[in-house]
């Protein structure tokens, strides 16, 4: 099928003004790192340096925690209705600045503007709006008559949804009366630093939100800090386990949202065209750099060929390229390091005997790119069926019976997401019951909402973010 010719339709960069350098946001003001060290943040689509950012070491982390500790009593003592108004202000300012922040996020992360504009930013604002409303209703949330905040929350977030993960962390923490120190990912620090400016515009008291930029060592200092009461982490399962060991034996409350190897199960009676859209959304949304991605396609044997033909036709129409172009479906991989990891696992897939296929597509010369990729003849023993690839790579397996589908889907140490495609209602409900995953999308995939709890079973972590359930992580219950 021939691709339509599209004229370039780039979103304007003029809407965002990136400073040449940013400091750490501590106690309501930007300051340089104590050591004066900085690091560069790149646009993964072009490898252009976007800005230089302060590198926080142990002393800077300590300053941020002390600022949060100092701000905590007054913030916690505010009437819930007043805290709510700050959060409502933040939500509104995020809506007002959403185009600017969407472009910024696309530049720093490499994901398509269509996604930052239509998914990330609306969800960010919605998350603050949702939790704002909880701040003065905590007594009715089912956590006892007078649930109290924990104190200082240390929050470490990943690079795949930088501002959305910030919202998932900061909104419930502030609504419940905690002060926070947040560390954005090393490769995507900018939207968190812009969020600091949103806090300034909202008049948020200094020290309630502190942003420390750096790498894994900065994050390790933060979660190990003795004056932290709460640790929340989203990222890899390996780092999550390390953090769980760090907080062992302390009174720190811990929530972890980690990796996944989601099964997307297609039965022979499924609406195949819709299923194809769901499969594409499940694994190519955000270049597959999604913890809840549907990275294992389990298709019933009788419709395997029909489904794969339709899927390949659809993949041939995906537009890979400039993330700022409004027609782009698949953008850049976030970093050279991540690209190397995806490349290594895809090569392992071939080496172990799976069959690799990609649509014909031209990748830009600069930046980090990986073509949408599909593996067939995959067995459960293959690394590409067991390990989280975190990239646009789909492993296809087959099954004959619902029992086999359940067994294969659950045959993983992870348990974050799963998908089911069938027209039969009773089968959907049975599968939903038997799949050991925190989110089951039936005849849909990759849907998110601030009112809907998100989080995993088993080694995908513990605790929930979103909804009433998301409050518990930040209350002394």
């Amino acid at each position: 099928m021939a691709l339509f010719e599209y004229a370039p339709a780039p979103e304007s960069r003029a809407v965002v003004d990136i400073a040449p350098a940013y400091g750490l946001f501590i106690d309501g003001a930007f300051r340089e790192a104590g050591s004066g060290t900085t690091f560069k943040t790149l646009s993964p689509a072009t490898e252009e340096v976007l800005s230089e950012v302060a590198y926080a070491d142990a002393a800077d982390v300590d300053a941020a925690v002390r600022a949060a500790r100092a701000a905590f009593p007054a913030w916690a003592a505010l009437p819930g209705a007043e805290r709510a108004k700050y959060l409502f202000r933040i939500a509104r300012i995020l809506q007002e600045r959403s185009r600017e922040l969407a472009v910024l996020e696309t530049l720093d992360n490499g994901k398509p503007i269509r996604e930052t504009r239509d998914a990330d930013l609306p969800l960010v604002a919605a998350h603050f709006f949702y939790y704002a409303g909880w701040a003065d209703k905590l007594n009715h949330a089912g956590y006892g008559p007078d649930p109290r905040p924990l104190g200082v929350a240390a929050q470490v977030i990943p690079w795949n949804f930088p501002l959305l993960m910030l919202a998932w962390k900061i909104a419930p923490a502030l609504a419940t009366g905690n002060a926070v120190v947040l560390k954005p990912a090393e490769t995507t620090p900018l939207s968190a630093l812009f969020f600091a400016d949103v806090c300034r515009q909202a008049g948020l008291p200094g020290g309630v939100v502190n942003i420390v930029t750096g790498d894994g060592a900065t994050g390790a200092e933060l979660v190990a800090h003795p004056d932290v009461d709460k640790v929340a982490f989203t990222g890899s399962t390996a780092v999550g386990k390390e953090i769980a060991r760090t907080v062992a034996g302390t009174r720190k409350k811990l929530t972890l949202e980690l990796g996944g190897k989601g099964a997307n199960i297609v039965f022979d009676d499924a609406p195949l065209d819709q299923a194809v859209e769901g499969i594409v959304n499940g694994i190519f949304f955000n270049q597959g750099q999604v913890c809840c991605a549907g990275s294992r396609l389990l298709v019933q044997e009788s419709v395997r060929d029909e489904l794969l033909d339709a899927l390949k036709r659809r993949l041939a129409t995906l537009r890979v390229g400039d993330p700022l172009d409004k027609n782009t479906d698949v953008g850049a991989i976030n970093s050279a390091e991540q690209l190397a990891r995806i490349t290594e696992l895809a090569e392992a897939g071939e080496a172990e005997g799976a069959e690799r296929w990609s649509p014909p597509c031209e990748l830009p010369p600069d930046g980090y790119w990986f073509a949408p990729t599909l593996f067939t003849n995959v067995t459960q023993a293959h690394r590409i069926a067991r390990e989280e690839i975190f990239g646009p790579v789909l492993s296809v397996l087959t099954f004959r019976t619902p029992d086999e589908a359940v067994a294969k889907a659950n045959n993983t140490p992870y348990g974050l997401s799963a998908g089911v495609w069938t027209e039969k209602g009773s089968r959907i409900l049975r599968m939903a019951n038997e799949l050991r995953a925190g989110i089951v999308w039936a005849n849909t995939f990759n849907k998110f909402d601030p009112a809907s709890p998100f989080g995993g079973y088993k080694e995908s972590g513990y605790g929930r973010e979103g909804g009433r359930h998301g409050l518990e992580a930040y209350l002394n219950v």
């Binding site: 386990k241 060991r245 972890l256 009112a451 088993k458 972590g461």
Partner: protein, 292 residues
């Protein structure tokens, strides 16, 4: 005048997979009362016994978690009935093991029975309290429900050999988990007798497995076991270093951990609330489009 009659003593055994084996190690240890008088030889379970118990608990999980909540509630209520019938026996074991007066130990047993009843009633209510519909901004049906975490290792409280045990075991069962229990090390007899109650209460084999022995020796393989999903460290209260070590080992497969209370003397008579009930559930959220 009848001749003085020699009473028949009980051989205390482990409870694994619905059966009453001795420890595979062949070991026992002496259980005494407050005055160091011999009460019984309890099995000194080994790490192999712990692994067998985990395998049995895993085998029991599908059936128990798949049973209707009403059915689980009825089975747990039956446990309370059986416990009530053995009130005097448990009172004597608690009195001897914990050095309590007759009246105090009876009060402990009564509270334990009442606690089983409280948790039995929770089995078909917790989903409505902890789950519900979520009003998402789109044409989707969206429902969250609590589901059992899986196999839970339970270190029973050391000081409260029956009421404490019931307080940590019953909530695990009410939500559909299966359990491997390390009984109070010093006073294991009520726990081992509770196994007889469970075995005659329609609790399927493998749903509860009870081990006696050295808590630390059993806790280490349980905390490190890759097929255990969660661990309650109540029995490590007052042993900060052991608790830290166990929590750290539990991180290896990201077990859900309930930390011990700050002091071992924490009582079990207060209203337990829903904390332990909700500690070993996973919230599952299901989405489905709404449309024609």
């Amino acid at each position: 005048m009848s001749e003085p009659r020699l009473s028949v003593l009980k051989t205390y055994k482990l409870y694994v997979g619905g059966r009453f084996p001795r420890s595979e190690s062949g070991r026992v240890y002496e259980v005494t009362d407050g005055e160091r008088n011999w009460l019984a030889n309890a099995p000194l379970a080994s790490r192999k016994d712990a692994r067998d118990a985990v395998a049995a608990a895993r085998k029991g999980f599908g059936g128990w978690s798949g049973a209707t909540a009403y059915n689980r509630g009825q089975v747990l209520y039956r446990v309370a009935e059986m416990l009530q019938g053995r009130r005097e026996q448990f009172a004597a074991e608690v009195a001897a093991g914990e050095g309590l007066s007759k009246a105090a130990s009876r009060a402990q047993v009564d509270a334990a029975v009442d606690r089983w009843v409280w948790y039995a009633g929770w089995s078909d209510k917790v989903a409505q309290v902890a789950g519900g519909a979520n009003p998402v901004a789109g044409p989707f049906f969206n429902l969250s429900t609590p589901e059992p975490t899986g196999v839970v290792a339970v270190l029973a409280p050391q000081e409260s050999s029956l009421l404490g045990l019931v307080s940590v075991l019953a909530p695990v069962l009410a939500t559909g988990n299966t359990a491997v229990v390390a009984a109070s090390e010093r006073a294991p007899l009520p726990a081992l007798s509770l196994a007889e109650v469970l075995a005659t209460s329609d609790v399927p084999g493998g749903v509860v497995n009870i081990l006696s022995g050295r808590t630390a020796e059993l806790a280490r393989p349980l905390a490190a076991h890759q097929d255990v999903n969660a661990i309650d460290l109540a029995g490590a209260a007052g042993e900060a270093e052991l608790a830290r070590e166990l929590e750290s080992a539990a991180a290896d497969n990201l077990k859900r951990v309930v930390r011990p209370p700050d002091s071992a003397g924490a009582g079990w008579t207060a209203d337990p609330g829903t904390d332990r009930l909700l500690a070993f559930v996973e919230t599952k959220t299901v989405w489905h489009p709404v449309g024609a």
